[in-house]
Amino acid sequence: MRLDRHVGPALIAAAVATIAFVWATPFLWTLVAAFRPESAGSADMASLLPDFTPTLANFRLAFESGDFGLYYVNTIIVVVGVLGVQLVTISLAGYAFARLEFPGRDVLFYVFLVQLMLVPSALIVPNLRTTVDLGLYDTLAGVMAPYFASAFGTFLMRQTFRGIPRDFEEAAAIDGAPWWAIVWHVLLPMARPGLIAFAIVSVTAHWNEFLWPLMVINDPANHTLTIGLATFTKGAEGAKEWGVLAAGTLLVMAPLAIVFVAFQRRFVESFVFSGIKG
């Protein structure tokens, strides 16, 4: 009886540990291969054992064949640009839906929600034409434009604002504060969990985005990390430089990974929060 109670959980723990190890192997390999010296031989390139003196040679080669510095700058511009505009649009719209009464409010809310089904990535073909018409083809602004309005963010801010008791605003309103001062000084500071959750989800999505930038961007000077990595991968494949491939991939994944490990709880809570509390 007693044995049973301990054997079951132990077996489950062992199975879970095994699966977690299998899940982690692609990343373990990346870490090991990126620091493996070339002389260590390519037959054992797949080995997960770090049986060598680590070297940065693969990273040097990666920086020589891909312009990662530029890719970082472009990606950061896109991510920050999208988020900056979104924070304004979703705060304003979220406030309107949460606190103001106006005719057509419910209909307009559905007008927003449709964006959740018609995901921008499904509309790359017509959106490319619009981007060309707007003169944004081959610009980073063109990469960002489809994401400036966010139904998800609007919904999130509406829910967040609704969760804030009205007493705080009433007090400010009695003191004669205009609506924008109330939003700026009262609501937004209290809505920080919602804003942070949205920021994490938005930054992750746009850091990782590939197909749309690939459609819009032509000039190598405007390449983002994901486009750069795709080009770079082709080169590394051709030269069979697996260590360099690992190093380049690591360069693309590292920033988000580091932020994730540092703020793990926040990340997980944000993804769950964005799903559950909406």
């Binding site: 489950i12 723990a13 879970v16 540990a17 977690a20 054992d44 797949a46 304003l92 309107a96 103001l100 009464e101 106006f102 307009l108 927003f112 929600l113 449709v114 959740l116 089904m117 018609l118 995901v119 509309l123 790359i124 073909v125 017509p126 034409r129 619009t130 434009a145 489809p146 309005a149 139904a151 919904f155 999130l156 609704r162 009205r166 009433e170 309103a173 992750t204 999505a205 990782n208 590939f210 197909l211 690939l214 459609m215 990390l225 994901t226 990595l229 795709a230 991968t233 697996w242 491939l245 690992a246 991939t249 693309v252 990974a257 490990v261 990340f267 997980v268 769950v272 799903g275 909406g278």
Partner: protein
């Protein structure tokens, strides 16, 4: 990813506005409300509504690529060309196999993971992190890694299979295997993301229901089947919906790993659209194929919304 979360909100939405007190300090300011919505509405108009209209119209015209091409109205000819294109039919069929092959195992694994690591221990926290981590990585980066993993002979998979005395197939070079390799990559990438929703969903399963079932003599399997799964129905509906949407909207791995090959074995609808637009410059075909894929997306979304409503009604 941003897209996904919202649908849950509707589903799992606990009544979000607790007894709103109606204080009306000042007359309702309609103008202000519309002004605040304007920036968002402009964005939605330009990149959600206009494109649908535009692609529907474009699908009825043909514009020859290159200078001097004159656009002309061709009616439904583009649809006939797309539907008659073996590559399109293959892509549509592949997409069905890909969706069926990916969604079911991802969702089952996600639930199994969530059940295994739902308690907050230090060990579970580490495991959760590992399982969730692939979903934070760009799909392009995952594809780059899997290029090496799938490499014949010296790649990670073959290297370790050889130690077990197994020789693997050519993972992405064999027409019978390639699509399943893409499926494997996708399951690895997404299962941990869906797990988060199940972990959150499990926290909302009433404890006393589970305890009552235990007192009534239900074993673990019975508790899962009769108590936990029914309570998780809205979560499952949501996870299946976002999983299906992923099947129609993410092809980065196909672009990097296989380019739809070998001989269209891994071609998917969105990749077909991308190719027609970006490589063959056949705007008519790309538009017609987009209309078909948008229709599929709407069917998935509306179908699952109904499923979710049914699910939540059963809950209530």
């Amino acid at each position: 990813m941003t897209v996904d979360a919202i649908i849950t909100a509707d589903v799992l939405d606990v009544p979000s506005s607790p007894a709103q007190t109606v204080h009306r300090r000042r007359p309702p300011s309609w103008g202000l409300a519309y002004a605040l919505l304007l920036p968002s509405l402009l964005g939605l108009a330009a990149f959600t509504y206009l494109p649908v209209l535009r692609v529907a119209i474009d699908s009825l015209y043909v514009t020859p690529h290159g200078a001097g091409g004159v656009t002309r109205f061709v009616g439904l000819e583009n649809f006939a060309r797309v539907l008659g294109d073996p590559a399109f039919r293959q892509a549509a069929l592949n997409n069905l196999v890909y969706a069926a092959g990916t969604v079911a195992p991802s969702v089952v694994l996600a639930l199994a993971f969530a059940l295994a690591v739902r308690r907050s221990t230090r060990f579970n926290a580490v495991v959760r992190t590992i399982l969730f981590f692939p979903s934070l990585v760009p799909l392009v980066a995952a594809a780059s890694l899997f290029f090496f993993i799938f490499l014949p002979g010296v790649g990670l998979l073959d290297y370790y299979l050889a130690k077990l005395g197994v020789s693997g197939p050519n993972w992405i070079g064999n027409t019978d295997v390639a699509l399943w390799s893409i499926v494997g990559l996708t399951v690895w990438k997404n299962a941990g993301y869906y797990m988060l929703f199940y972990i959150a969903g499990l926290q909302n399963v009433p404890r006393d229901h589970i305890e009552a079932a235990t007192v009534d003599g239900a074993n673990a399997v019975q508790r899962l089947w009769y108590v936990i799964l029914p309570a998780l129905r809205p979560t499952t509906a949501f996870v299946v919906t976002i999983a299906l949407i992923h099947m129609l909207t993410a092809v980065d791995h196909v672009v990097v790993l296989t380019k739809g090959g070998p001989s269209n074995a891994t071609n998917l609808l969105l990749f077909y659209i991308f190719q027609e637009a970006h490589e063959n410059f056949d705007t008519g075909k790309a538009a017609a194929a987009t209309v078909i894929s948008v229709a599929a997306l709407l069917v998935v979304s509306l179908g699952s919304l109904r499923g979710m409503e049914a699910g939540s009604r059963r809950e209530a």
